[in-house]
Symmetry: C2
């Protein structure tokens, strides 16, 4: 073919192979994600040609540290090796695997086999002494002396061979020698992989969304009362905090709090505004000369916000702000940085559109501008501004309409200074786009949960997103509703549908959230048939909510959140297991702690209209249960206790009584008389 012959490799004597390191997101292109306090289980295929023993270790360090920590890997069989690294610090870590053909391990095993077979091993003992002396030559001080002494003992003619063979197996000295392999034989996989360690709330969080302007307590929608409530303020939000705390939420998410544009402002139900009193959409950001770092005057001042953050903190609630990188036509950026927008041939600025739909109240940024560097810097400054104000959680609006590279850079940059920052990606788009955003660095992601209604849909989707490789980079946050999403299931399913979706979200997802007032009060009227938009949506008008209405789901929401707090099994998605049932309207799944000390089995009737019954077929092993010993299933929703034995158990769920069981399974049953059930 006329091509040059391939040159010899640099390290032909380095015979070990390291393959298939996990976790490893897209071949190392992106960081894997874990939580401080968890263990990072690293695995790899490590082997060599021939029959020689290999050794290997995980190398790991915080990114800012110099020294690698080395952790010996243990074989799992089939050439797979494993070690588990404790994650102590927040932030970015590096890890990789090194391995080597280990002549001392080979020798140790061969020597024992030959001696057991009655063969003369004197030459082998001498060979071992050679290897150990060579190892000693690589170290200094006490270790050197210990190794040399050991080598000498192996060839001391005065000692009986059997004693020397036994001495050759000294575990402590082998461990010492293991720490000093011949660097010529050690292969380290380069470049190292990256791990981002987040705080616990990245894994386990309960979100409550409200519109701060709709916090004046009222008796219903304007359509019902005919009155327009006054504009709520951060002070009104403060007054709402005890309610949110009582419901058990730990994140309060507010839609954008910035000045709202007046040009092309939208009125109720997304119609063009016809009244100067229409408050506009909070996502049409920018007006009165102020933009993404300003506060809408009717909500209050920066001091009011600081007070709200502080008061919420006292109740264990963190504030999450909305990052929506788009502008109303009145945003100061439009005047000051026209180069950040696309100019149309007629000299106007390109508004948002999804042809033939037009959104003239919104100007998107033009990310292909040659001034993209300045634009990115400014957008990072916006997030950093709020981070400096003490906001550590950001719900990012439509991140899939901005470049992935922007997020990758921006999130890494913000987290360098604020490693506790959490970014939730509000993308409801195609699967690969959702996943790419998560890889780019989003801490949590909205999901397709709202539209996964049948058992098969739920099992497939949650099996996919809670297991590697997806779970290494994607953390779900489940929302049964949002201000944009009122599903058909909720529109037509009645109270049982709300309960089923609440229980599913809160038990399938360690992180979940509700668009609060509308969910508590089971708001379920769509703008028009076939739409998922709320009628009289808060996005375009001020609402007031009578949270004291007797049909409110507040009590159930509070109970569900208490169960989540009290049961660590529900605080992670890592051990979600689905169980069989012979009625496909009954979905059954469990979560357990790694030590199986806590096990929660949830069973939901997905049919909001009819009683459903069937036999559940439990995967007992995943629950740590014996097939021949009874166990208690304590329904944490109803308080009922059942005594079960074995895998198959009968379930009947009447939507009028309760659409779900959330069962705490207790294994250590002393006798059947211990149960109230037999009371």
């Amino acid at each position: 073919m006329g091509s040059a012959l391939p040159g010899l490799p640099a390290d032909g004597a380095r015979r070990v192979v390291i393959e298939s390191i996990t976790p490893c997101v897209d071949g190392g292109r992106f960081a894997a994600k874990r939580i401080v306090g968890e263990r990072l289980v690293v695995e790899a295929d490590v082997f060599a040609d021939g029959h020689d023993a290999v050794s290997c270790a995980v190398l790991h360090r915080a990114e800012h540290e110099r020294e690698w920590q080395r952790l010996r890997m243990v074989p799992l069989g089939n050439d797979r090796w494993q070690a588990a690294v404790e994650i102590v610090d927040l932030g970015r870590h590096l890890y990789t695997v090194c391995g080597w053909v280990d002549p001392l391990e080979t020798w140790r095993g061969d020597l024992a086999k030959k001696h057991d077979a009655g063969q003369d091993v004197s030459v082998d003992l001498a060979r071992g002494a050679q290897l150990i002396h060579a190892c000693a030559a690589r170290v200094r001080g006490a270790a050197e002396r210990e190794l040399n002494a050991w080598a000498d003992e192996l060839v001391a003619g005065s000692t009986p061979v059997a004693e020397r063979v036994a001495r050759a197996q000294d575990a402590t000295l082998h461990a010492l020698a293991w720490r000093h392999p011949d660097p010529e034989l050690v292969l380290t996989r380069e470049p190292p992989l990256v791990l981002v360690a987040d705080r616990e709330r990245a894994r386990f969080s309960s979100w409550y969304e409200l519109f701060p302007r709709s916090t004046v307590q009222g008796a219903g929608a304007p359509a019902v009362t005919g009155r327009t409530p006054r504009h709520g303020t951060f002070r009104d939000c403060e007054a709402r905090l005890p309610h949110i705390a009582a419901l058990g939420f730990d994140v309060l998410y507010l839609p954008p709090i910035h000045p709202i544009g007046k040009t092309e402002r939208k009125g109720p139900n997304n119609a063009p505004s016809t009244s100067p009193r229409d408050p506009g959409s909070p996502w049409a950001i920018g007006g009165d000369g102020a933009g993404h770092t300003a506060i809408h005057p009717e909500l209050g001042t920066i001091d009011d916000l600081r007070r709200l953050i502080a008061r919420a903190g006292e109740l264990g609630i963190e504030l999450a702000l909305d990052i929506a990188f788009q502008c109303s036509p009145d945003h100061p950026y439009v005047r000051e940085h026209p180069e950040w927008f696309l100019e149309r041939p007629d000299g106007t600025i390109q508004y948002a559109e999804n042809p033939p739909k037009k959104y003239q109240d919104i100007y998107p940024f033009h990310f292909e501008t040659s001034a993209w560097r300045e634009l990115w810097e400014e957008l990072a400054r916006v997030v950093e501004f709020w981070a400096h104000e003490g906001v550590k959680i950001f719900r990012v609006d439509n991140p899939h309409t901005k470049p992935f590279g922007l997020w990758e850079w921006l999130i890494e940059r913000v987290k360098r200074c604020t490693p506790e920052a959490i970014f939730l990606a509000e993308a409801f788009t195609r699967p690969k786009v959702m996943y790419r955003l998560a890889k780019a660095g989003f801490t949590q992601s909205y999901t397709y949960f709202a539209w996964r209604n049948t058992r098969d849909e739920i099992v497939r989707y949650f099996t996919e997103i809670t297991r590697p490789p997806v779970s290494d980079f994607f953390r779900a946050n489940l929302w049964p509703n949002t201000p944009d999403i009122l599903t058909e299931y909720l529109q037509y399913g009645g109270r049982a549908a709300f309960i089923a979706r609440l229980v599913l979200a809160a038990t399938l997802g360690a992180s979940f959230g509700i668009y609060g007032p509308a969910f508590e009060l089971m708001e379920h009227t769509a703008r028009e048939p076939g739409s998922e938009e709320y009628l009289d949506s808060e996005k375009y008008q001020i609402r007031s909510w009578d949270l004291e209405r007797p049909e409110s789901l507040a009590e159930l929401v509070a109970l569900v959140n208490r169960i989540r707090r009290e049961h660590p099994a529900l605080q992670s998605d890592a051990r979600l297991v689905f169980h069989g049932s012979d009625n496909d309207t009954l979905v059954a799944y469990s979560k357990t702690t790694p030590d199986l000390s806590d096990a929660i089995l949830t069973i939901v009737n997905l049919d909001p209209h009819h009683s459903q019954s069937g036999w559940i077929d439990l995967d007992l092993r995943s629950l740590g249960l014996d097939s021949d010993r009874p166990f208690q299933a304590h329904d944490l929703l109803s308080g009922a206790r059942f005594l079960w034995r074995g895998a198959r158990n009968f379930i009947l769920l009447d939507p009028a009584q309760g659409a779900a069981h959330v069962l705490h399974l207790k294994r250590r049953v002393r006798s059947e008389r211990d149960f109230d059930y037999f009371g």
Copy 2:
């Protein structure tokens, strides 16, 4: 954390994403494999943020060429794109994927939607003209003029808008513009991936192994006759060629043909030799001052070998030689290059061992020697020596006991000059080691086939190795027996077992081989119970074979090979599909050509002792068959023709009559009377 803030990326305005390119072996670390004449189907996930259209293309070239060929990819849905490259040349090729956010494609789609919705599109037409002028500025000559003219037409006020909107969709001009995207927006995945294109025999080959010294026709084993046959020669091999050609084989593989060491020589049945007349093992290479590039004098001369190669070629048979990188103690390397071997503390050279077993007639190379570079060069020269003699196929002995890096370098080097070279890896070892050797460059690999006896074992194993990712780098060569492997199944299964394993090997594997004389004559006596070694193995003594014995399987072997030659479906493993059966001793599978014009369904009774019957449940779609039209199943082994209809068909296989069906399925049945079956 004190770390520096991450810098802006170089290409923040390049918004497109390219992920998950296939084929891609270990993230691009190794080459994928295909055959000249096949198509390389390249796929990738390509998408961008937002709603803009993306375009993408496969870039490909032979490694020695300068210019990339560009082939437009088409969308498969779910952001997956595909294009198929015709592979014309032998050797190494490069390929990758490039993509870009495509403003003209976006504009083209949006314009149509807006116009259809009755919106004013004058500004949009002007925007398109801008984009097209910008594209024209990137080209010269006629293309530039065509594009500029097109842009001008779109804004020609004298032309009705509807006409201009129609003009905006001109497919030819769009195709022209597509070829000249803005280079600032084009992302090319780097580095490119490597493809190795082999010749057809790498995919479809029929191997016959014999010991050239055992080619003197005789009447049985010495144990039977008491006579020791004379040493066969290359001339005797020549005389055997017509037989091998009649059997239908196209590769004749000879164990090592080099001088054999005398020191520690092994005698019959691997016992230490006690007679100077013992010929020794051909794998104990080196003696009388000659080694890996010499010919054992009793076999003949280099001219005899050349003649054998030429004669074989005339019959369509290629010679495959054995590459066994190890030495007898008498090999000249031992004297000339002691640094290539491991010296023991007592000054002797380390012989091969697998403690407590010792192989004192074999010295392995010490690949961790500091002189590994010289050793590798010498080993490459050995292969090149035989390649220059016209040998293009090499069966490599125990490659898993030599460094993977050696093979990667050596095979690439040999194939630079001899791209038609084929290397078969004789490794029977752990799965990941087998796969790594294939990734390192071996063209074909021995497999676990010999020990996969039950239906479940066969289905699992062949599903794994015939599909990506494994099939992108691993090509199976199936052997029911070898001089080292006489399975229990063959030892105790009688004639039916030999037939079943022959049919399985020849129809599951596009490449298969037999250790010929022993297979034809159903040699089945092991050295001792529990052993897979042949009694009186040819590895250690000269045998003579009476190939005319009436019970010989020669006729069946010839028939099976004829079926393989006549049916392209059997010449590839890419479309192997297993079909259901309600009796798990019946395994059913099919192979088809990509256009479904040839379809072979094989059904084997895996129980050599009993008749077995059951219902086969065909995956009709994979066979291109309709469920409501009859089709003919013509048994190419027995000649019988069956008329079948639908998926479920009854099968009875009596091992005394025939352990298998090899059915040619014919779809185009004119009427049922066409069949002999209805005679």
